[in-house]
């Protein structure tokens, strides 16, 4: 419609420039640094080249790093399982009408807008030994000692519970949006054929919801692989290595030990794993879209 495309490129250029400088340049820079041995606190603080695979060879045998990746993946899958289950039930319940529904829904949205770091603080205040009501309640009524500062399993599951508290509303609201957009015809014909509610759910609702479910799984997996802030606030990655997810591990190696070269290689591997998972899910999404056309 305009005579030339110059105006278009002019309008697009600030966005492209900012994304290049803040997104692509750091990527290539970290790729570059990852090939060097570099620790500014070492005897020789300069960058030394010791072969392309130097840092990667160390990382691939670094049990702590590999364990942190495994921990992140385990955490993502566990939280996804609970959030999907809970979110689906809640979304289905929101389809019916009941008293105070919009109030309940509004409160349910609240955790979504709270900053992760604040969620960490809220849970710290709520669960820390000697201050929070939760350890007291558990001790008095169930005789259960909650002290995630010492108990590794409790620390991991505390983070899981916090993540469920924070992100289940997202799953609920997304699935609700998907459910309310479903066509009504299949339901009516199924009812005429005499299907019960459970059959309708398994054979009609679930298959029609698959595209929305994939989007939810995609976004939740990406976000929980990124988790740092809440964990940093609540447990700081401890006790021991119990809640040291990949992001936290990189933080500790880079800003406490100043392993710049190794840290870069870690960042690249972390990015690599995210990209692979992301791309696998994305191609599932695309190929499903193709099948439906």
């Amino acid at each position: 419609m305009f005579s030339n495309n110059r105006t278009g490129w002019l309008l697009l250029s600030p966005t492209i420039i900012i994304l290049l400088i803040m997104g692509l340049v750091p990527f290539f820079y970290v790729l570059y640094v990852g090939f060097f041995k570099w620790n500014p606190l070492a005897v020789d603080p300069s960058m030394q080249f010791e072969g392309f695979g130097f840092n990667y060879r160390r990382l691939i045998f670094d049990e702590v790093f590999l364990a942190s990746i495994w921990r992140s993946i385990k955490f993502s899958v566990v939280t996804l399982f609970f959030e999907l289950g809970l979110g689906f039930i809640l979304a289905l319940s929101l389809l019916s009408s009941f008293p105070l529904k919009s109030f309940f829904r509004g409160v349910h949205t609240l955790p979504l807008v709270i900053a992760p770091i604040v969620v960490g603080s809220i849970f710290k205040l709520f669960t820390v030994q000697g201050l929070g009501p939760l350890p007291h309640l558990l001790k008095d009524y169930f005789g259960y000692t909650l002290n995630y500062g010492l108990n590794a399993d409790q620390a991991f599951w505390m983070i899981v519970i916090m993540d469920i508290w924070h992100w289940t509303p997202f799953v609920t609201l997304t699935l609700l949006a998907g459910l309310s957009a479903l066509p009504q015809d299949p339901y009516e014909s199924a009812k005429i054929d005499g299907a019960n509610n459970f059959q309708i759910f398994i054979y009609i609702t679930i298959p029609m919801m698959v595209p929305v479910l994939i989007v939810v799984i995609f976004i939740r997996l990406m976000d929980s692989l990124k988790i740092v802030d809440e964990v940093w606030m609540l447990t700081g990655g401890g006790p021991g290595y119990a809640t040291r997810f990949t992001g936290i591990h990189i933080w500790k190696e880079v800003f406490e030990k100043r392993f710049y070269g190794l840290g870069s290689a870690m960042s690249i591997l972390y990015l690599y794993i995210t990209i692979v998972i992301c791309w696998l899910l994305y191609s599932v999404m695309v190929s499903r879209g193709k099948n439906e056309d």
Partner: protein
């Protein structure tokens, strides 16, 4: 532009390069972890580059 090879989705050349590089990196890492004590990494590099070219060409 997009074509169908042995990869079960339609891809353009950039997608195939991407797939090639991703699998190249995976090959290098696994080779370093499990095979490098027996066979030099240079074999992995050779196989990997051949694989990238094959994917871009036939994928």
């Amino acid at each position: 532009m997009k074509k169908r090879g042995f990869i079960p989705i339609n891809t353009n050349w950039f997608d195939r390069l991407f797939i090639g590089v991703i699998s190249y990196v995976a090959l290098q890492l696994f080779w370093m972890r499990f095979l490098e004590s027996l066979i030099s990494i240079n074999f992995a590099i050779g196989i990997g580059i051949a694989w990238i070219i094959y994917v871009i060409w036939k994928g």
